[in-house]
Amino acid sequence: MALAKRIIPCLDCDNGRVVKGVKFLDIRDAGDPVEIAKRYCDAGADEITFLDITASHEGRDTTVHTVEKIAGQVFIPLTVGGGIRTLEDIRTMLNAGADKVAINTAAVDNPEFVREAAERFGSQCIVVAVDAKQVSAEGEPPKWEIFTHGGRKPTGLDTIEWVKRMVSYGAGEILLTSMDRDGTKIGFDLALNKAVSNAVQVPIIASGGVGNLQHLVDGVIEGEADAVLAASIFHFGEYTVQEAKDYMAEKGIEVRSL
């Protein structure tokens, strides 16, 4: 009897449609978020993460509406991220039915925001999302820097230090994306994952780079992730969530079966 490792399909949404890009570019349409969320939930997804990449302000209303619709049909935890900048944004998403919010750029711009958010809403609903990129050269001790704006903007922040700080401010979970791996399908950055997982007490969600089911296993066993997030392998029908779970169970990982 043990806690199951979680499989979290991620829906990147633009104006109410699920999309998926490679290295944050070249976006492909993958369908209706409500239908997709329901399908993943029925197949055994342990949580759903909804990342809004809609740029326009008007699009935000669409997002709230979509979150409401998903939350009315999917009775597993739902995390919403993208454009969460104020306590009011968090309140809006929680009211729409989100269980957690993922804060990324706003945390970098104003770290105190994370503290305020955790104090107001509780650590259990504050996920800090970080986009990390390796900046050390080969042969040097590994070092990863935090980037924002879809990986375009360096911040000068060291990932390990940053994550420790965010947890001390009340982050209840870390969504860790490797910018080097995102969309590449060559697997998670396992060294990054392990380093972050060992640096803090809270659960880590590994993200960025999943191309096959062995990558999920590696993320848990070698990367010491508590949960694994993937998008394109599920969206384009390469694997079902059920197949992912069966494979992980075969490799000795505790998963939730339906």
Partner: protein, 218 residues
């Protein structure tokens, strides 16, 4: 008409709970009405009551006291089925270690304790805190709310503090995370869960459905 009042004291994801209850009622073809409210009269009029809670116990207890929610819950517990969830369950106990110690409502005997740093599983592997995710719940006593819920089903947990009670006869379910801990408690017409049934897919929705049909007796 089966009216369910979800007590709104500003803490907790009440919308998740309300949506799950509405969904269960709709699927069963029952006429279920959910009211999310802090109004004592509306709660007194409801057929059953849900006492949710998330976040820090200090803030929860402050709001419970400010809005006199303790009295509302105490009154409800005398006359109708009550389902307490997560911090709602913890608030029923005597005292919590969280936030340097907080006195709770004292409706059920026992304390709320921190998991502790350096928590490990049987094999010595490090366990993260909060205890977050799907864990198995062993049904240690029969109860109407366990109807059609297979023993050792997984439910969604997210908490860093857990309930301990000297009255083991109140414990209806346990889970294991570094140590064996209380997952559910029951006393008279109250049932309390450390996990979130509203986020626990089939097992959780079955439990909620049982609550909607429960008359509060054993």
């Amino acid at each position: 008409m089966n009216t369910v009042a979800v007590i709104d004291y500003g803490m907790g994801n009440l919308h998740s709970v309300a949506k799950a209850v509405e969904h269960v009622g709709r699927e069963a073809g029952d006429d279920v009405r959910v009211v999310v409210t802090a109004d004592a009269n509306k709660i007194a009029d409801a057929d059953r009551v849900i006492f949710p809670g998330v976040g820090a116990i200090r803030d929860c207890m402050a709001e419970i006291k400010r809005l006199d929610v303790g009295q509302i819950v105490e009154d409800a517990m005398k006359s109708k089925p009550v389902l307490a969830i997560c911090v709602g369950m913890q608030a029923l106990m005597d005292h919590s270690e969280e936030n340097n110690g907080v006195d709770c409502l004292g409706f059920l005997p026992g304390d709320v304790c921190y998991f502790g740093d350096g928590l490990k599983d049987e094999s010595g592997a490090r366990l993260k805190v909060p205890h977050m995710g799907w864990n198995q719940v062993k049904q240690t006593q029969p109860h109407p709310l366990w109807k059609d819920v297979p023993d050792n089903s997984r439910f969604y947990f997210v908490h860093s503090y857990y309930v301990q009670t000297p009255k083991q006869e109140l414990v209806t379910g346990k889970t294991t995370y570094g140590k064996e801990i209380v997952a559910t408690l029951a006393a008279d017409n109250i049932f309390a869960t450390q996990f979130h049934p509203e986020k626990s897919q089939k097992a959780g929705l079955t439990l909620i459905g049982n609550f909607l049909n429960w008359d509060g007796s054993l």
